[in-house]
Subunit: 310 residues, 2 copies
């Protein structure tokens, strides 16, 4: 039977000015999945390496999105999925989205691509929902499409694929602490000052324009979050110090990746990104907080086929 | 001495999804100004035709912006300004912005263009401020630059010039009723639900993307205002009926122009615009409300020189 090995990338959602709608895709940080077509109908998760996650398909993010796909496609065969999880659950860089898109991307490839990207996103949203208890696509969309995406709405699903300036690099630091989802939700304001909301939509509008025009100065001045960061940053140790250090080292911007605890910075050029990464390492090395740091170009392709046995 | 005659266009601010930051420029609806270089230093407004506005330069919008310019330029001569006001004050289509940019645009032309557009906007903001009691540029920027603009911030002044899709037309209806500025401000919420704010910035972000990609379907779905329109539309008679009629006649969107009472629609193509304009006329013709209606391409050039005597 056919077998495919794919990579399913990590992503950064929110990106300071685009809470709940904006995201981008990372290179070099990705899960791997091996998916086999088998005679037995249904979805079976045979193995998960890396992290302890449920093997039952209907309780597993990759399983649920795959089940949504085969419920629609009704194939005469089934799929076995082996997951090699590199993106740590709860790290804030789209671990569940990587799982959710990986299985449907891989199965769609095995089937000869009957589904469009938008259709795959809809299946993946079902998987993501069991991890985050709500249907959203701000990690799903960039994980599947690559580059920067803006999810205008989930229902109806409307996703804008934004252009990626050539020389943009991301540095991600993941302080290995746990922030409970309930806690990171509890600090969100239900109401915001109209004046702050105006600032935020001015920033998001200009950020979208800046991506279209490769205007790095405008990217820099648009990467500001007056709504969420003041609340959530308090849950992340060293956040202010990392942010100041990134700014001092000429990063374009620095903010919370998703709901944290990971922190992202965007930089123009790999040399700036290296300086920023080094400075952040220095900060964490003076503490006893375990951490990981990634430097990455923006991944404009999304998931990739590593191996295909036909 | 030198003399110039210029046109200073009307504009639509807010544009549903971009409260306080977005605007576009109209054709065929504009003030005219004749500006003369004279030996006597200072700014003198010699005549205002059309509407009853203050002749004292320091109390007049066009005068104050011109004074800001000559305070900076310190020329050895002065300027006489004659204003032919076509854009009715209080109509909601940037009457004060037209005055504010007309004088500085004309004087800059007479001087041989020593100032950049951004510098002229700063002078014009000073004039606009005496009409609206605060420094803002959401009408000023499109009036001076033409097309669609997004004012990211006033201080520092950061204006994005957005692209204008070729086939875009506006229909503006001005119901000749007075809405007091105090009243249109009083209905604004000071706080908004985070979920509504997210919808609004998703819409503005996708609207900016839609202009860049000439995606008319996306323009249509982005032209939605969940924050301001529900409050301010109550002050405008027939608003809901006009909006429904515009939608039924295939307008891309319909909303309040500035703080009203004018209502704008955006349409793809002049035939749709004509149908929409006719339908709106029919609505107002069944009432005793006096009204004016304009159909216009988007003016991508801003102000224009009508005549120049050197």
């Amino acid at each position: 039977m056919k077998e495919i090995k794919i990579s399913a990338p990590a992503t950064v959602a929110n990106v300071s000015c685009g809470f709940d709608v904006l995201g981008f895709c990372l290179e070099h940080v990705a899960d791997e999945m091996i998916i086999r077509e088998v005679p037995q109908k249904g979805i079976k998760i045979t193995q998960i390496k890396g992290y302890n996650l449920p093997l039952e398909a209907h309780k597993n993010v990759a399983g649920v999105s795959a089940l949504a796909l085969i419920e629609d496609a009704k194939p005469d065969y089934g799929y076995e999925i082996e997951i090699i999880k590199h993106v740590m659950p709860g790290s804030g860089i789209g671990s569940s989205a990587a799982s959710a898109i990986g299985s449907v991307y891989g199965i769609n490839e095995l089937m000869g691509r009957p589904y469009t990207a938008n259709e795959l996103i809809k299946f993946a949203i079902k998987g993501e929902a069991i991890a985050s208890q709500c249907e959203h696509a701000d990690n799903i969309a960039p994980a599947l499409l690559g580059g920067f995406t803006l999810v205008k709405s989930v229902s109806p699903l409307t996703v804008c694929e934004l252009p990626t300036p050539d020389d943009l690099f991301a540095v991600i630091v993941h302080p290995k602490i746990e922030i409970k989802t309930s806690e990171s939700r509890a600090v969100l304001p239900k109401e915001v000052a109209l004046n702050d909301a105006i600032k935020q939509w001015a920033n998001l509008g200009s950020f979208v324009h800046a991506l279209h025009t490769s205007d790095y100065d405008l990217i820099k001045s648009s990467l500001e979050d007056v709504i969420i960061e003041p609340h959530r940053s308090k849950l992340i140790p060293l956040f202010q110090m990392v942010k100041e250090s990134a700014e001092n080292n000429k990063a374009l911007g620095c903010g919370i990746s998703g709901s944290g605890p990971s922190i992202f910075t965007l930089c123009k050029g790999k040399f700036v990104a290296k300086d920023v990464a080094d400075a952040i390492k220095d900060i964490f090395n003076t503490t006893d907080i375990d951490f990981e740091i990634h430097t990455s170009k923006i991944n404009t392709k999304g998931p990739a086929v590593i191996d295909f046995k036909n």
